[in-house]
Symmetry: C2
Subunit: 500 residues, 2 copies
């Protein structure tokens, strides 16, 4: 195992993320610290001020102590725009090196964009998109198509700059808002490739402000999940957050539910950037990414030292399987059998095809709850799947996987789904039920957890479904347990189940 | 690590529990199987029937296959009353040994009582009590005082016998109920030591029926926790379950919420035994134990091969700490500091003293949620503590520990407590808040997770509380973080906080 400290010196905050990486290259964040240093609040010449440098030094000293205390094997320290742009950056770098022995890597705008891309592409399942990393002192834009970077740019202004230029930390007049919009449209106008973006790609937002926009929107909608990552908003919702902050004073802004105090002064400026980019590029959805620069640094580190991440969902699932000592052989056997049934019973899933990812997640993690407690482990699987930060699934897919897994022993919906009706439709519930029946059958067919059943042949025959488990010897025990599912099978699929 | 299969051949069901025991003697149940074989339904001469023996043999064969498939290092097979009493038990034992190579250990009534006692005494924090293990074919009673067994007896009838003798599987007339009551009072009257039981000791019930009584009661009261173990009922609630099953037919009984179908026929007879023992001994509460014979066999195995369990709460907490790779040094440091503050600030806790166990649990497990996800790990700690099956705490104590831990970073009650108002009072909530403040302070004082602060001196001085951390060097970082808690401290304790 390798223990890594990642320090990210931004224009707004300085952060430390502590990460354990295991032999397979799976990683786990186990602590995080943030100090709002505001290094980006430079003097009129753009110089880092002595005061801010001192605060940053103290924070870095504390972070170094923490890294040493937890016995980190390596500390990766990266600085972005605030340091990059400062004419006196060398003074700061020397100070930090001499006092603390920390070598700060100053990222170029291109590198900053690249790491944000790494953070996103390994955690959000979108083939194409425009990534925006909105920092305090710069804004990175990366356009990728079919997983390949097409263009990227680092715009030399961020939330702090915009706030200062247009004095937006307090209530903003219509004229100022208009001027800010014009400025942004002008700046975006200089980026030629932005004009040729295809429609229907999402804006994938990285950074504290964007998570904050998501949070405000979720609060206002009583969104039932406490997940920042992969939250999706339509432009009008972003506009509404923009509008409701515009007229308010700083004091009033602080009271907005979900808006973090540390950020209240620069929030409107940042929000304006997000909203106007959506407008300018005529993009139809904002995807909030909880994973960005810091995670990108981790993925890059893993990729260079271990085998690359590959499929992000598989990576996440295997990460969880190894972390919680889930019986991998049994998990994959249940997945294999359920998947085989799913393919053969295609017609019974009707319009609810495209559930491969849900089936895989639910099957591989159906026993994940055992790590909390064997008793009620089906309910615990629900909690685990919902909360363990699986990458590559939308909130709806996570929720469906969690429900399906929670029903792998009993087809009674103990967990009331109405509270999730913003996310799940009645159709989704029917699909969940169907998947869960396949899990129960597969679980029964691996009662002895010994891969005894090699495959299963399924055939829809009028009003019934015939299943024939294939094994070296007739799997009597397994069949007798599987057959207990027949009543629920009939209820869910509307067909009789025959197992021979 | 040792992997153990425990097979329990009861009169009603045959069960397999799979357990992993680590080097420290901590164990975890990772799978369980149950088949309702009803070996106790013997013929008129009390002989095990050929049919039941055959079913038992098949079940045992399946269990053995499962044990082999999961590579159990050892299989412990124990049989209770049904086999013990049967004149033809040797036929059965020989059959099983010849066919499967399994040697069944037939427990005497005393041994059966002893193992139930082991299961209870290691998981329920009661100094004295009357344990009742109500099986299909016998009923064990164990009286212990200050942790020492005073008397025990194995009564030669269980749920199946009573059901047969009085034909109670369907609705029961008043006369039959009266006859059953008279029979039980007569039998209990023969046990001399039962007459001398002190008042105020609980009846601690072990076995499926008793868990079932608890479940029915919880359903009827909309009890907010899904925990069988350590659920406490007053006699009138047991009586009410008894009364509501008495008149009903088998069909109607099956529909009672919480009553398991497998047990519906013998449930009334069993329930009558529980109720009449409560009546006869004039006991004022029934404590449901989820831990009994099988767990007792595990504890006994551990005790003979590893160091003994000792304090059950410590054992549970250390079990969880090692299972989830919680930073043990940091956890114990937070506990040490919080505990020191708690002792010194006694007067501020007023009537809510006696929270040592809650403080310990919350402090040691405050970071347990990180194993699920670092983000929102305070909320995950709530779930973990509530669900990981900690022994030695009542439901109220578990809930209070969970809440206190969930507030270790922020004193805002995100998790609504009104749903738990059956269990928690407003006073309890105030205590939770106070404990959580101590946790936050201790967490801050161990920011670098390096045990830098050795102790803390606290003094209540009129309207303020002074705290002085003791360390080799002045802990500036730690103090500056701890001081952030002052507003919440003042709100919760009604005193100003000064840290120097």
């Amino acid at each position: 195992m390798k223990r890594l400290g990642i320090i990210d010196i931004g224009s707004n905050s300085v952060r430390l993320v502590l990460v354990d990486i295991n032999a397979q290259g799976h990683f786990k964040i186990f602590n995080e610290f943030k100090e709002t240093v505001r290094l980006g609040e430079t003097d009129s010449k753009g110089m880092l001020t002595a005061e801010k440098m001192q605060t940053a030094l103290e924070t870095l000293g504390m972070f170094k102590t923490i890294c040493e205390a937890v016995r980190a094997d390596e500390i990766v320290t990266a600085a972005t725009a605030a340091v990059r742009r400062a004419p006196n950056k060398n003074e700061f770098l020397t100070l930090v090196y001499e006092r603390l022995g920390l070598r700060i890597r100053v990222l170029s705008g291109e590198e900053e964009a690249y790491y944000a891309y790494c953070g996103v592409i390994n955690s959000i399942d979108e083939k194409s998109g425009l990534i925006m990393d909105l920092g305090g002192g710069s804004t990175e834009l990366v356009h990728f198509e079919d997983g390949v970077v097409k263009n990227s740019i680092s715009l030399p202004f961020g939330a702090i700059d915009v706030t200062r230029m247009f004095d937006t930390s307090n209530s903003v007049s219509a004229a100022t808002a208009q001027a800010l919009r014009r400025f942004l449209f002008d700046e975006l106008g200089k980026v030629n490739w932005l004009k040729d973006l295809k429609k229907n790609i999402p804006l994938i937002g990285v950074g504290g402000t964007i998570r904050n926009i998501g949070k405000i929107d979720k609060k206002s909608k009583d969104y039932p999940l406490d997940m920042a990552h992969y939250y999706i908003m339509d432009p009008s919702s972003v506009c509404s957050v923009y509008e409701q902050t515009k007229d308010r004073t700083l004091e009033q802004r602080i009271k907005i539910k979900g808006l973090s105090k540390d950020r209240a002064d620069i929030f409107f400026g940042a929000c304006a950037v997000v909203w106007h980019i959506l407008e300018y590029c005529r993009i139809d959805r904002l995807v909030v990414s909880g994973s960005g620069l810091r995670e990108g640094l981790v993925y890059d580190y893993i990729g260079s030292s271990y085998s690359p991440v590959g499929n992000m969902l598989d990576f996440s699932l295997n990460n969880i399987i190894s972390q919680f000592n889930i019986n991998r052989v049994h998990a994959y056997q249940v997945y294999k059998l359920a998947s085989s049934m799913y393919v053969q019973l295609e017609e019974l899933f009707g319009s609810s095809r495209e559930c491969e990812k849900i089936l895989k997640t639910a099957a591989l993690l159906h026993d994940s709850g055992i790590s909390i407690n064997f008793y009620s482990h089906d309910s615990h699987a629900f909690y685990m799947i919902l909360n363990s930060g699986i990458n590559g699934l939308t909130h709806r897919e996570i929720l469906m996987s969690a429900y399906a897994a929670s029903l792998h022993r009993n087809t009674k919906l103990k967990l009331k789904w109405k509270q999730y009706s913003q996310i799940l439709s009645e159709d989704d519930i029917r699909t969940i039920m169907k998947i869960s029946i396949l899990l129960r059958l597969s679980e029964s067919l691996d009662t002895c957890m010994d891969n005894f059943v090699e495959d299963i042949k399924c055939r829809v025959d009028g009003e019934s479904v015939e299943m024939n488990p294939i094994a070296k010897k007739k799997p009597n025990v397994e069949i007798s347990r599987a057959i207990n599912t027949r009543h629920d099978f009939e209820q869910v699929f509307g067909k009789k189940l025959l197992i021979q």
